[in-house]
Amino acid sequence: MNAKLKIFLAINLIVIALLVYTYPHLMVAPGKLSQGHQQLATDCFACHSPFTGADANRCLVCHKPAEIGHLTTSGQVIAKSGNAIPFHQKLTTRDCIACHSEHDSIKRSQHQGQFNHALLEKELGSRCQDCHGAPKDSLHQQYTGNCSQCHNQEKWLPSIFNHNKYFVLDHEHSARCDICHEGSNFSRYTCFGCHEHTPANIRNEHLEEGIRDFDHCVQCHRSGNKHDISTEHGKNESEDD
């Protein structure tokens, strides 16, 4: 390279360095800042610590944990909307970046969910309905129990619950949940919720066969098929036929 070219390159690079210093929000920021933070657009180190990234301690200078959800950073009272409740006071760690990203492009390509339930205190983490309304479909509307019986906190779908593992819901057992699970208590069940099975006829049928322990129906009957009966040793009698 000749000297003129080197000087030309040097001048260009100095100009770029000056532009980066003067307009960091245009030259290096990964997209626009969120609405509430736009006044910080040219002051990267208001939120970022050198070489370690956005720093929760710098967030906390303006966002006092005790006030989040109650007051704005300027001290205005926040009107309660819907089911939303302030929960930042119940976080186990102050890790703002785990859930929040303030630049446009980071939001677009974030590979984790926007909210990390693992940061909630255990007791609040089990009170899903404090923040989430029940889904409007007919299955969920009849259910008042804890969501975690069927769903985990990583993803709503797919549901972690497989009813067939306990009892196959064939066409004869396609019933409302509370027919078998009274009061939406899914830790218990009864087979006497419908007119087909009554304590008396179940008792008689089992005693005829010499079976005296018949309180826990699904221990032997895993489906509505009367030939599909597992013994207490887990062996399927129908397979022996």
Binding site: L9, I16, V20, G31, R108, S109
Partner: protein, 192 residues
């Protein structure tokens, strides 16, 4: 202007360049379909490393490296620079955010184009223009008639011979811009 230079040299060159663009779009599309856009963010690292490795050819050419056949090093230079550029282009995505990394991407793209000109077109084009010149001379055309007949091919060739003047300075520009981008990432990004 004869169309042969375009048909035989320029169009294949364009197709090879298009392959890079198509592979970039395909990579970006696959990442979006698999909901793995975040992977693109980290492809800048292997991309930059591959481009860095491609410099080994320049070191060999200037005898800073003593071992290995230059031809093998050139092949390695071409492959690693092309692949590294592909990774960097996917890394850039089609999202226009900060200006600095886009300047670096632009410089890299000019570098790739100038490199492909050097690799694919120059020697073959030089031979082609020379053979055309001889052909016209054998047909009994005067010197000025020959020069007129090959005028546009000669102009195209002259433009292409400038590739080396572009390739190395623009690489310097790319390195500085890429370094500025990398430094800004280390300065502001929280690695975890």
């Amino acid at each position: 202007m004869t169309t042969s230079l375009w048909r035989n040299q320029i169009i294949p060159f364009s197709l090879l360049l298009s392959l890079l663009a198509a592979a970039t779009l395909a990579g970006d599309y696959v990442l979006h379909q698999l909901n793995m856009v975040w992977v693109g963010r980290y492809l800048g690292i292997p991309g930059a490393l591959l481009i860095l490795l491609s410099l080994a050819y320049s070191l060999r050419k200037r005898k800073y490296l003593q071992s290995g056949k230059p031809k093998v090093w050139l092949f390695f230079h071409e492959i690693s620079a092309w692949l590294g550029s592909l990774f960097v282009l996917i890394h850039a995505g089609i999202h226009f955010n900060a200006i600095l990394p886009w300047l670096a991407t632009g410089a890299m793209s000019i570098n790739v184009i100038s490199g492909l000109v050097g690799k694919l077109l120059l020697n073959r084009s030089r031979l082609y223009v020379q053979s055309e010149r001889e052909n016209f001379q054998l047909q009994g055309l005067s010197q000025s008639e020959v020069e007129q007949a090959i005028y546009w091919d000669a102009v195209t060739l002259d433009v292409m011979t400038q590739w080396r003047k572009v390739h190395i300075p623009i690489f310097v520009v790319f390195v500085v811009l890429a370094l500025a981008h990398i430094i800004s990432i280390f300065l502001f990004w929280g690695w975890r």
